[in-house]
Amino acid sequence: MSGYFITILITITIYAMLAHSLNIITGRAGQISLGHSAFFGIGAYTSALFYTRTELSFWISVPLGTMVAGMVGALLGIPCLRVRDDFLAITTMGIVFVVEAVFLYLPFFGVAMGIGGIDLPKWFGREMTKPEYFILILVILILLLLLDRRLERSWLGLAWSSIREDEVAVGAMGVDIVRFKVIAFILGSAIAGLAGGFYAHFLTFIMPQNFGFGQSIVILCMVVFGGIGTRWGPIVGAIILGILPEISRPIMEYRTFLYGLLLVAMMRFQPGGLLGQESVLPRFFRRIGSPWRKSGED
């Protein structure tokens, strides 16, 4: 496999992880977040700083990054708990701008130059090759998706979906809304931080601009494009929107323009995303599958 191809695969897997983590907060618990790239950045910066300044290995610095992102997620979840809907969307957006400003202006974080000298992890006494790294993060993505399947039918998953449907009613039934929302924020931010750690060690060089508001929008697009709240939707979204920039190189000039239009068209005509309940693909598969099903099951 060529280096170019493996690079795209790794990037897409990291995006899939990010989209999956945003789906926990936005799709499962129904909390709109426009600030996901902040946690991605916190994870990346934490693991990069631990790795370059303290001699800790990859295997320790990345989990540390994950933990810090989760903790910051819990902390920042507090102002977010007081606000709802549109206020929440803008508060989370504000978090990105503040976090990016901190990375950009505090000398400790390397300012605009960023942090360099982060390497791919070592194992068996040598540095990991790129294909091996790809397999590592793919395995972790699969584990996360298995965990997600467990969670969906657990009390936690049920509480989240009830909060998503009607927060006031659920609160009146005695469900501790605050606790479940904070858990969603911690889990989503921690996974984003994990993806950030992988990203930093793969790029070997990070800077604040990698984690700006635009990145948040890209992640949100993937979730929305695939189908918000579905298990496979964000993954499909990450794959399609991750490949699209590569195959659209000839029309480089108009790429961002087309991205914007794609987003508009998607929402206008297919608001559930590719894999959403009422969308084209699931209906198509249901129709194909129907002769094999018992009648009245659908």
């Binding site: 549109d86 206020f87 508060t91 957006m93 697009c221 914007g260 929402m267 206008r268």
Partner: protein, 285 residues
Amino acid sequence: MLIQQLANGIAVGSVYALISLGLTMVYGILRILHVAHAGIYALGAYIGWFSFRLTGEFWLSLFIGMAGSALGGYLVERFLYSPLLHLPRIAPLIVSIGLFTAMEEAFRIVAGPHTLTYNAKIGIGNLSLGSFQLTETQLLILFVTFLILIILWVVLSRTRTGLAMRACAMDAETASSFGVNVKAIVAINFLIGSAMAGAAGVLIGVYDNQVWPTMGSIPAYKALAIVVLGGLGNIPGTVLASFVVGMAETFFIGILAIPFPRDAVAFVAMILVLMFKPYGLLGKG
């Protein structure tokens, strides 16, 4: 020095008010976070610039810019937002973000990626009292903004249309049952709000002497912060928050000289206020 900073802060704040008011009016009636409003703002600046190039008349170009923006805003409402109103809140928000991105790129493709200079002769002249100075463009901004704010206030509080607009903002369904043509009110709302954004675009174009494709990026998010800070959909609150943010930025950067990015100030203020007043400065729950 202090008064000078105050004047600068008021000038900046009044442009913020012009941009944010349209946003808050849209939110008041449709409950949509209209991020693409900043695209309309940049559209106004571009149309103003082109018409200035063609005619050489500043006031005419300001008017054409406002008219072009108003039309653009109306089209966005008619063809993108109104079909999406029955969907969850996130759908129009995402459309808006996508549209804003596409608009920025469209400006770059059509007008080129470089900065266009917009040095119009306005003919007011600078005002200086000793060490205190107001430049011609600052005077222009203050004059146009206060004129527009007064017109808006008169329309909202003294006319039947304004009454209908306020009624729709409170409860569109009830207003409709009392014979208010809600669709027309929404359209008027978009026309007025977008024209104000267009005016702000032209004014900033002249003030900074430049028009460039991504000029909407920072106002897009800052205007949202201001609108939330004032209490979403609350018009007096938005004006207040605009001036608070304008002043805070000028003071932070100008006097305290804190090396903190100017554009994050609005968000820090917003997060701090929301911690204690979750519905903004003048918002009601």
